[in-house]
């Protein structure tokens, strides 16, 4: 059957109801979250743009390689703390049809969105597609790192994708000034659109390796020539975090794992301040930051008997290095699960750009996933002792839980291995529904 290219306005509520019906039906049979969106995309291609145009405060696009999900979650919470009704694509279907699916879920029976602003997590390629459909009012661009290069080709290609997002944004583009590729996006912003930066203090900059230089000891960014940042992550000790906002030091507690997540909180705050302008209530924002919890698989903890198990999503060298740097290896029992399914990226070369030396004292209890042997070979090269290599994830997880002593457990895992481990954990203990 040929797909109708456009629909008369009379037909629109019908197609929307069809979409909502499919969403309901597919949710009942546990189908994929984007399927109803796919149907809407086919029968009413203007649906997403038309719905988003009703938002009084427009659309925020969050993109970049690392930390999109947690940053989006934080941004939503911060905006909600300011009294805004926020629409977001929480389910992780971060492409246009996922947005359509999330819209269907949110619309009431009369087709009203009932939100003030949308915050959408979009990966780089889908963000380009999305901004052609609907120019966002705000963009928060986090970083460009080596991730899934087998899909996008090269980092420079990824940067160009984000340049198109920056160029399409009509209100304010918020940029991470510490990432040279992101900083340079300022050149792509159209005249009349504002630019705001967030950044790191000098001492923190040294603790934050950039992607270009595992083998190059120059700091990620040189202080001179950096643009002034509205929000600077000044320092943090454990959860005690100091942010410099407009020249004043503000203190809060942020319960997130690792410097990169806490830095992303600075980005979420910078974006929120841009959206709220004079209406921003600072003390409420700081309080809300202390309530932020990790997105699923991004450092979330579950209890397993009297021990905790933490899932740490790893998908590129910079992220893995930062995760390793955030805790001492010997304090944890450690498992690593590396899958190479499409969603993980088929290429596992990036494991060679991570230094695993910090794991040597405690060793790694279990290595798992489709590429378990690649990972074991990698660890051997850094003289890290490996307890067991068990490619099958469920067996590996049980073996890890039973045979790794009484230390808290952490599992570094790629995307699809994390999903599989979460499913297995759900049979062993309580895991938050996603």
């Amino acid at each position: 059957m040929p797909t109708p290219r456009f629909l008369s306005p009379v037909m629109r509520p019908v197609t929307r109801l069809i979409g909502q019906g499919i969403r309901y039906a597919s949710a009942r049979r546990g189908g994929g979250s984007a399927f109803p969106g796919l149907v809407m995309e086919k029968i009413d291609p203007g649906f997403v743009a038309r719905q988003l145009a009703t938002l009084p405060r427009g659309v925020v696009v969050v993109s970049g390689t690392n930390g999109k999900t947690t940053t989006t979650k934080m941004t939503v919470q911060l905006l909600e703390s300011q009294g805004l009704r926020v629409f977001t694509n929480r389910t992780g279907s971060n492409f246009v049809r996922g947005v359509a699916a999330a819209l269907l879920e949110r619309l009431d029976l009369f087709g009203r969105l009932n939100a003030d602003i949308a915050v959408l997590e979009l990966d780089e390629a889908h963000a380009v597609h999305f901004v052609k459909l609907f120019p966002p009012r705000y963009a928060l661009l986090l970083n460009v790192m080596r991730d899934q290069l087998d899909r996008f080709g090269e980092i420079d290609t990824t940067r160009k994708m984000l340049a198109r997002v920056a160029a399409a944004t009509t209100g304010t583009v918020v940029l991470n000034r510490e990432d040279p590729r992101i900083r340079r996006l300022a050149e792509d912003v159209r005249p009349g659109t504002d630019i705001a930066y967030y950044g790191l203090s000098e001492p923190l900059r040294e603790r934050f390796p950039s992607d270009d230089e595992m083998r190059d000891k120059r700091p990620a960014a040189q202080a001179e020539g950096l643009p002034a940042a509205g929000v600077v992550l000044q320092s943090f000790e454990g959860t005690d975090t100091v942010l410099r906002v407009g020249g004043r030091e503000l203190r809060t507690d942020i319960h997130l794992y690792g410097i990169y997540n806490i830095f992303n909180a600075a980005g979420a705050l910078a974006l929120t301040l841009e959206v709220m302008g004079d209406q921003a209530r600072e003390e409420v924002l700081l309080e809300e930051l202390s309530r932020v919890t990790p997105a699923f698989g991004r450092g979330e903890s579950v209890r397993l008997g009297d021990r905790t198990l933490q899932l740490l999503l790893v998908k590129n060298p910079a992220g893995f290095r930062l995760s390793l740097a955030s805790a001492t290896g010997a304090d944890y029992a450690t498992m690593i699960a590396i899958n190479d399914e499409y969603a993980d990226g088929r290429d596992v070369s990036w494991l060679w750009d991570v230094d695993f030396g910090t794991l040597a004292p405690g060793g790694v209890d279990v290595v798992s996933g489709t590429r378990a042997y690649d990972m074991a070979l990698r660890l051997e090269h850094d003289d890290v002792p490996v307890g067991a290599v068990e490619p099958e994830l469920r067996t590996a997880l049980r073996r890890f839980a039973e045979g790794s002593g009484d230390k808290p457990m952490r599992v570094f895992c790629t995307y699809t291995s994390m999903l599989a481990l979460r499913r297995e954990l759900a049979t062993m203990t309580e895991v938050e529904e996603i």
Binding site: L149, D150, R215, D216, D347, W352, T370, R371, R378
Partner: protein, 242 residues
């Protein structure tokens, strides 16, 4: 043991600008291999503008962004006479992806820009519209089965004065036309394979170490090395979807 005192200098060419997809894995693997065979590896980084070391036993160079290739272009031509002399003298080298292309005669980009290479390989590369991406397996008489991962848009064609490194069994290799992968001239190996290449293909590491040892010391006595992990990793990688 006196053999332990025999150093081998491994030069990493342009680690700052031509280092992507785990090129470090090759250097790490090679230096461990050299140590296992009883040599004392000495790692030297060479970046644009550095003094080129007097003695180089093995040279390893990696891939890079297109931007990286233009950054090193001028410096590469400045040291080209030394590299050519080393190559003709039998020094072993391994160049992957971006540097493999620049070790040929030239690289013509999609926009028609010509990047001159240093001509150690009789090979020409042209930029392609699509990227050749995925797991790849090739066969070589000398090294047996070679497994890795390719990700490139450049299409390389070998001339009559250079050998292929392997024949493609699965994947694309040098280009979309023939079944060649990589290049071989004397002891210089070029390849599109990363993954990283050497950890999962220890026979190539052994070849590089042996060629270096024979050139520097006139002999080589291989040690027995347990490669069972590498074997398992190779098997798995060769069986994964493209």
């Amino acid at each position: 043991m006196t053999r332990n005192e025999r150093p081998l200098t491994i030069l990493q060419l342009y680690p700052r600008d031509m280092n992507i997809y785990g090129d470090w894995g090759n250097v790490l693997s090679l230096s461990r291999r050299a140590r296992r065979h009883g040599y004392a590896p000495r790692l030297v980084d060479y970046n644009p503008g550095d003094a080129f070391p007097e003695e180089v036993d093995i040279l390893v160079g990696g891939g890079g962004q297109d931007s990286g290739q233009s950054v090193i272009q001028e410096d590469l031509h400045a040291i080209a006479p030394r590299l050519r002399r080393l190559a003709e003298d039998g020094a072993p080298m391994l160049v992957i992806c971006g540097l493999y292309q620049l070790f040929g005669h030239d690289f013509t980009t999609v926009d028609g820009e010509v990047l001159r290479g240093i001509g150690i390989f009789d090979a020409h590369t042209v930029g392609g519209r699509e990227r050749l991406i995925g797991n790849i397996v090739t066969e070589s008489e000398e090294f047996g089965r070679i497994v890795g991962y390719e990700n490139h848009s450049g299409l390389t064609t070998l001339g009559p004065d250079v050998q292929r490194l392997g024949t493609v069994v699965k994947g694309e290799g040098n280009n979309l036309e023939d079944d060649h992968e990589g290049a071989r001239h004397r002891n210089v190996i070029g390849s599109y394979l990363h993954g990283s290449l050497l950890p999962k293909n220890p026979r190539i590491s052994d070849f590089l170490v042996e060629a270096a040892a024979r050139r520097r010391y006139g002999d080589f006595a291989p040690a027995e090395i347990d490669d069972s992990l590498a074997e398992r990793a190779r098997e798995v990688a060769a069986g994964r979807p493209r």
